[in-house]
Symmetry: C2
Subunit: 374 residues, 2 copies
């Protein structure tokens, strides 16, 4: 018996909609998980995050182990209590961060060795330590295996090597995790954009057996087209009856295309990072609110969204806040962006349930194209 129930309620082509059931709450899928890197979804209160419709948020092992420290969070009652989010939390294992944080990272069979960007101190992250941090110290509901995530493009030999190390680490993570009543463990498929490597990775993970399966090593520079082409074959390699999670993705169009290929879960810093830089995502694409054309635009970002940031403030006011470097501009646009993402996920779930995902996808792409043609 798994600590994670996954109930698919409707299918439309390869896409599916349903519910993930965890001890701390249910998650409607396909789901977008806001990223709370350092125990905060940047610029927002957890109440604001929840109000957008988020059922689950993400935390980052590497950031939290460096500051404030995983043992400290454990002494303070775990990550949920520390940050004030009582619903499910998924923690990233650190594989991606270790790659992206530091040029001083060295990966051995045993572990990843890296330097803290905060103070240059040296740290070691092994599969066993990653599981201990995520499952025991932070107390995550969904724990990710430690993997070796490589940049794109990668030579086939290098991609194979990283995939096989990740598979050996997957086994060590599973052994360290053991069997738990209220926490789930996900494996991570690697293999770059190579179909043969992706298949080997999936087979090795399935043999170990996980509560869910992630697609890792994408959104690392390969671009939308190569990512979608990889999903065309990689997604179907993962078990149909288990949740599939595309890590670190993405733009709204990426989510639509990945959902159509059978992905159930996503996370990405884009909505909050773009929000802090004054960029609002809408159904006609991103708006750069600093632009002079918004200076006297009285319309809100999106009056159809049930979010104060989307509905109650004019673009002219947001333009002023961005131009003035005001924190409230960062707050409101981040908040709107998360509301837009959650609304998109609701629309996708409804379209799957009603068997009209292909029409939704065409209309979504047409909306973007009309706007870029305008």
């Amino acid at each position: 018996m798994s600590a994670l129930g996954f109930h698919i309620e409707a299918r439309d082509g390869a896409a599916r909609t349903g519910r993930l059931v965890l001890a701390r709450g249910e998650i409607a899928t396909p789901a977008f998980m806001p990223v709370g890197t350092a125990a905060t979804v940047k610029a927002l209160t957890m109440g604001q995050v929840r109000a957008t419709g988020a059922d689950i948020i993400l935390g980052n092992t590497v950031h939290l182990m460096l500051r404030p420290g995983a043992e400290r969070i454990a002494r303070l009652g775990g990550l949920h209590r520390f940050c004030g989010w009582e619903r499910p939390i998924l923690t990233d294992s650190g594989g991606f961060q270790v790659m992206s944080l530091s040029s001083l990272t060295r990966v051995t069979e045993e572990a990843a060795h890296f330097a803290s960007p905060l103070d240059g101190s040296r740290h070691v992250l092994s599969p066993e330590r990653s599981i201990a941090i995520q499952a025991d110290l932070l107390g995550a509901d969904i724990v990710m295996q430690l993997d070796e995530c490589i940049a794109w493009p990668a030579a086939a030999e290098r991609a194979a090597e990283a995939m096989r190390l990740s598979a050996r680490w997957a086994k060590r993570c599973k052994d360290a995790f053991g069997a738990r009543d209220a926490q789930a463990l996900f494996g991570i498929q690697q293999g770059s954009t190579d179909e043969i490597l992706r298949r080997e990775s999936a087979e090795r993970l399935i043999e170990i057996g996980f509560d869910g399966y992630a697609l890792g090593g994408l959104a690392v520079g390969e671009g939308h087209q190569a990512m979608v082409e990889t999903l065309d074959f990689a997604t179907a390699m993962l078990p149909r009856d288990r949740p599939r999670y595309l890590m670190g993705v993405g733009k709204p169009i990426d989510l639509v295309e990945a959902v159509a290929r059978g992905v159930d879960m996503f996370d990405c810093v884009l909505p909050t990072r773009a929000g802090r830089h004054g960029q609002a995502w809408t159904s006609i694409g991103p708006l750069t609110l600093k632009a002079a054309r918004f200076a006297e635009d009285e319309s809100p970002l999106d009056p159809t969204l049930d979010c104060p940031a989307s509905r109650d403030y004019s673009r002219a006011y947001l333009h002023h806040l961005v131009r003035s470097g005001e924190i409230l501009g960062q707050v409101l646009i981040s908040w709107h962006n998360l509301a837009f993402y959650q609304s998109l996920m609701r629309d996708l779930r409804d379209a799957i349930r009603e068997g009209r995902l292909e029409a939704f996808r065409r209309a979504f792409k047409a909306g973007l194209e009309d706007s870029s043609a305008a």
Copy 2:
């Protein structure tokens, strides 16, 4: 008939509590007005500001005329609509900002001439232009006369000169303002810490006649003791039946002492500025949350306050946010500080109504002293 009703409901010594009645809403006095310099109370949504109990906020003529421009705000429907605060707004006339913004400021009989800190462009602010911006373009509920505010210490001759220019500008402001149904105009007493100058200033303002009277030229470097000694004589010079507003003040202890001397209204950037710098105000004084002693302190800032920021987050979490430079730390501590200030004003109003202000004041000072002795 005044556009502003002022109903004193109880007195205790020189202190008074009551209601200011304006077309856009009532204000319980003594009142603290959060400062919304650039059409935003920094880091907070207007919903968060209102939830702390604020009845009125402040806007700044000089900041708004420079960016986004007073005419632009007028085209966008006025300041209330622009920033989403539908209750009363008081606008500062620009006298203090012109002094503090720029070393290139030159004051003539006609107007203040100053350079924009944004781009160095030259601007002229006359009494008539200040009134037009505040009353007609921004649409403030309470409009302040333009004054010449000087630094402390000032030679008696210089203080007298600035006070008399301010009095002549007061008359020009009154003439420009005329009679209005739904907007009030306040005069500003000047005269530094000099009793004779303060008296001449008050007499000249009363002769012109205003809806309310501000004490200007304080909190400019003279310190708590000199300010309180000035209030000892200056406050009583202003009409008993009209609201008295101590501009730019201050720390909680300043508010307590000024209320005891008959002041009804305050504004200060301190709660939000301190909040952005990780300093939380409490009944035992300010807490610097970056300090190591808060790293594992599970207590909230103040569980007795009806504010999520004060009640629902541990000091350990706030410490982490401040150390990590997270925006949410600035948001939560600013929010708590405003809640603490509004709670202090409620306590002061209750103490006056119940005839125990002197006991409250002694207990408040004792709380601060116990803490600094500890």
